[in-house]
Each structure stands twice: as C-alpha cells, then as structure tokens.
C-alpha cells in the first residue's frame, strides 16, 4: 500500500502531522491555532533540549575516545544518565553574583542568550511538512535572531564587572562581528540562485536528481561547495567553538565572559552555545545540503525528517571532531582569517554564483567549460590568497617528545 503512494503522502512522512491532529483534534476551533503553535514550540524545545543533553554526552564520549580515555561511564548504562546528573547539579549549585556586578544585566544576559538562540529554529524546515513558521524573509529572520546573541554575550561580559570578562566580551564582539560578514556573504549566492529568502523555496530549489542518484544540492556546485565550507568556518566562529574559542580561552582568560557565572546561569550559557551550534548547522543543511531532500531518488521512501536529522548530526559530529583536532587560533590570526581571507573569497563567490546562474543554458562541450571556469574561480583565488597571506611565515614544524 505504502509503495504506491507518492513519498510526500506516505504514512511515515505524514506521521508527525497525524500525531498533531490526534492531539489537537478534539479542541474547539477557536483554540486550534494556539494549540497547534504551542505544540510546535514544545516539540522544538523538547527535541533540541534532548539533542543538547545528548550532544554534551556525545561530545565528551567522542573527545574521550579521540584522547584514548573512556569518557563519562559511571552514571547509568555507558554514562547515558550523565546529562541528567549534570542538570541536577547545575540546578542545585549556589548562584553567586559578584557584589559589584550589574545585577539586572547579569541576570538578563543568559536568559536573552538562550531565548535568542532558540528563535532561529522557528524557520528551519525539519521535514517536508515540518516547518514552524513559513516566513517570506526566513533567512533574514534567522540571521537577525542570531545577531541578537552577540549583544547578550557582551552584556554578560560587561555586567560581571570583572577584567577577564570585559576583555573576553570585547574579544567576543570583535570575533562575532568579523565572522558575521563571511557568514552572511556566503548565504547571498544561495539566495541569488533560489531567488527567495524563504527557507522552503531554497529547499525546493535543491530538489530533483540527475540520473536519479546525483542530487541537485548547492554543495555539489563549485560556488556552493566554496560557500558551504566558508559558511561552516564562520559558523564555528559564531558559535565560539574551538578553534575559535578565544572569548573563553581558559589558559588566558579563566573562562572569559562566563568567569562570574555559576549554577544554572552557567548551564544556560552552555545550553545557548549548543542551541546556536545546532541552529547554524540546521541552516547549513537547509541552504547547502538540500534540507530534508533524500540523496538518491530510490531512497525517498525514508521520511524527510530522518534525512534532515542524519545531515544535522553529521555536521555536529564535524564540529566535535574539529574541536578535538585543531589548536586555538591567536587573535591576529583570527581577524586576519576573517577580513583578509574569507571576506574577499565570499565576495568573489558572489560573482561565481552570478556566472553559474547566467551560464545555466550552456550545453554540450560548453558544459565542461562552465565547470572549468567556475572551479578556477574557486580554487585560483584560494591558492593565490593563501600563498600571499602566509608568505614569509615559516611552515610550522612539530617535534615529538
């Protein structure tokens, strides 16, 4: 029975909708919209709350494995209860606020940070039928909500009245605004090609397959690949993750803007960092990796939300792996990478995307010429600019003890 239905209408695909209608079905009509909206919000909060909890465990487990140690394994089976133990500990820990701190801002910063990092999730299409708010300007809204978190980070650093916190807040602001540019500029080509700021349209633009097994995802075009890589680098920096974790560099700034936070407020910062990371990864999946689209035509029977989750988890694994692999950047390297490398390359990528769109009609041998030109515009400047910026810097040598 299921095989004869088109994938969009299959029972598995519509399963979340069926559950929603079953829950909200016997409510009066006047409450319908409110109930459906609240249900969507609660599902997003619960799903990402749980993802946050188990992401912290996965991160500690994977880091442990990479560093040849078992990681948390005492609480529950394979440490599976560890996130809950951490949560209970955070709730019951005393909340110390420094005497000289600005108490209102000190309290407001973590609350705002969590709220703003959650807001972006409203416009992500998690599946064919799973989109909380279908905005015309969804992409713009997502990045506007993300930019509000920068304010909260600075608020935290300033309100603490601590020298380390203030220094970290300044650093964080310089880092966040520097990487905001490549982040946004690498999104513009996607908007150009899809012709819309709506996340649904962008995912639809990546539908279909060549020969049934090569998906039309943006990442599989030269400009899309370059855009994806630069978006992910900027996303790493925006979520303050290693190797861009300068604002909370333990070896120089104690804990950065988190120095004066304890108890549950500290846990809220931690939560916001993971929500932000999940949000940016979900946006990267939507913009470049085809959103909920299946990679091959014959795999379409697997529901769209499963594909979305798989892609999201793959990117998050990448975040964790990078944290285990790369050392932290220095401040001058950080700003140089953003302003002298990523911004020029993203600007060039705009031209590349424009070329790709204008040459869409080329066929036959010109098709290969199109690919050759587009690849040259990606690889050429990358090599030239990279060589120019590292000129005079001796290659790093490692001596093993």
């Amino acid at each position: 029975m299921i095989a004869t239905l088109p994938p969009a209408e299959s029972w598995l695909e519509r399963f979340p909708l069926l559950v929603r209608d079953w829950i909200t079905g016997h409510l009066p009509e006047s409450l319908g919209w409110l109930a459906v909206s609240l249900l969507a919000i609660v599902v997003i909060l619960a799903a990402f709350g749980l993802l946050f909890a188990y992401l912290t465990l996965a991160e500690r487990k994977i880091l442990g494995r990479i560093q040849n140690r078992p990681g948390p394994n005492r609480t529950g089976w394979f440490g599976l209860l560890q996130p809950f133990a951490d949560g209970i500990k955070a709730v019951t820990k005393e909340d110390v606020v420094p005497r000289e701190a600005d108490a209102v801002l000190h309290f407001l910063a973590p609350v705002l940070l969590v709220a703003m990092s959650l807001l972006g999730l409203a416009v992500i299409p998690f599946g064919r039928h799973l989109l909380a708010a279908n905005l015309e300007a969804g992409v713009l809204y997502f990045f506007a909500a993300g930019a509000a978190t920068e304010l909260a980070v600075f608020m935290a650093g300033w309100a603490s009245h601590n020298k380390y916190s203030l220094l970290a807040a300044m650093r964080a602001l310089a880092q966040l605004i520097s990487y905001e540019l490549p982040l946004l500029l690498s999104v513009v080509p996607v908007v150009m090609l899809a012709g819309s700021l709506s996340t649904t349209h962008i995912v639809d633009a990546q539908g279909g397959w060549t020969f049934g097994w090569i998906p039309h995802w943006h990442v599989l075009t030269p400009w899309g690949f370059a855009g994806f890589v630069m978006f992910m680098i900027a996303a790493l920096a925006e979520s303050n993750r290693s190797p861009f974790d300068l604002p909370e560099a333990e070896s120089e700034l104690i804990a950065g803007h988190l120095t004066e936070y304890s108890g549950f407020k500290y846990a809220l910062f931690f939560m916001a960092e993971y929500f932000g990371m999940c949000g940016l990864s979900a946006m990267a999946v939507t913009l470049f990796l085809g959103g909920w689209q299946a990679p091959c035509a014959f795999l379409e029977f697997i529901p769209s939300y499963v594909w979305f989750t798989a892609k999201l988890l793959t990117l998050l694994l990448g975040f964790i792996w990078i944290r285990a692999t790369l050392p932290r950047l220095r401040m001058d390297q950080l700003t140089r990478l953003a302003w002298k490398f990523l911004v020029p390359l993203t600007l060039l990528n705009l031209a590349n995307a424009a070329f790709w769109s204008l040459s869409a009609g080329w066929s036959g041998p010109m098709h290969w010429v199109r690919w050759a030109i587009a690849l040259t515009v990606v690889v050429g400047p990358f090599l030239l600019l990279g060589r120019a910026l590292t000129a005079g810097v001796a290659p790093r040598t490692y001596r093993y003890a």
Partner: protein
Amino acid sequence: MSEHPYAFLALFLAVALAFPLVLLAVSQLWFRFFQPPKPSASKNDVYECGVASTGDSWIQFKPHYYLYAILFLIFDVEILFLLPFAVAFTGLPTGALVTMLVFVLLLAEGLVWAWRRGHLEWR
C-alpha cells in the same frame, strides 16, 4: 497555521523567554527550601586570580576594536542591500547587474583601502 506567521514568532519569543526563566525559578525554589545561600565578603568578590581585585574594570578600551566595528557596519549595510538584489537576481536586466557590480566594487575598494592602511592588522 492560518494566522499571520509573525503571530507565531511572538508566541515563540514568549515561550523561549519563559523557558530559561522557569528553569531559573526552579533553581531559586531549591535554594529557598533546601540550600539557603551563604554569601560572604570574599565569596561575592569578583575573581582575579585569588588576590583582591584592584582598580575599576569598567575602563576605556583600546580603540582598535572600534575600527573593526566601523568596518563591520559598512559591510553589514552592504549585505542588507545585496539581499533584495539577490532575491530579484534571476529576472534582472544586464544594466542592473552592472550597477550592482559597481556597487560591490566600490565597497571592495573600501576593504582594499583599509587593508593598505593596515587597519586589518591586529595590534
């Protein structure tokens, strides 16, 4: 879903703000009943490597950070102009494309100027 999508966002914002507030309230209740806070002079001091904190920490900062802020502002506004252009891109005539190219090049020139002047160098 028949309502205006922004009504949903307002609701989402309300719940997203309530979420951390409720969690903080739970932890406050815990302190209230089981674990009253015990403040002390040294505990509520700002942290400074274990010694008493000296001087004010709300000070004027080196101006270099602000140069990045100004540069950021220029490019952020540029992106705001680029987005409507990008939405309309597929149907644009050649003249409009050239105009946009000139606009982007003018701003790229600003980046080159800042680069030449050494403003992008972290000191």
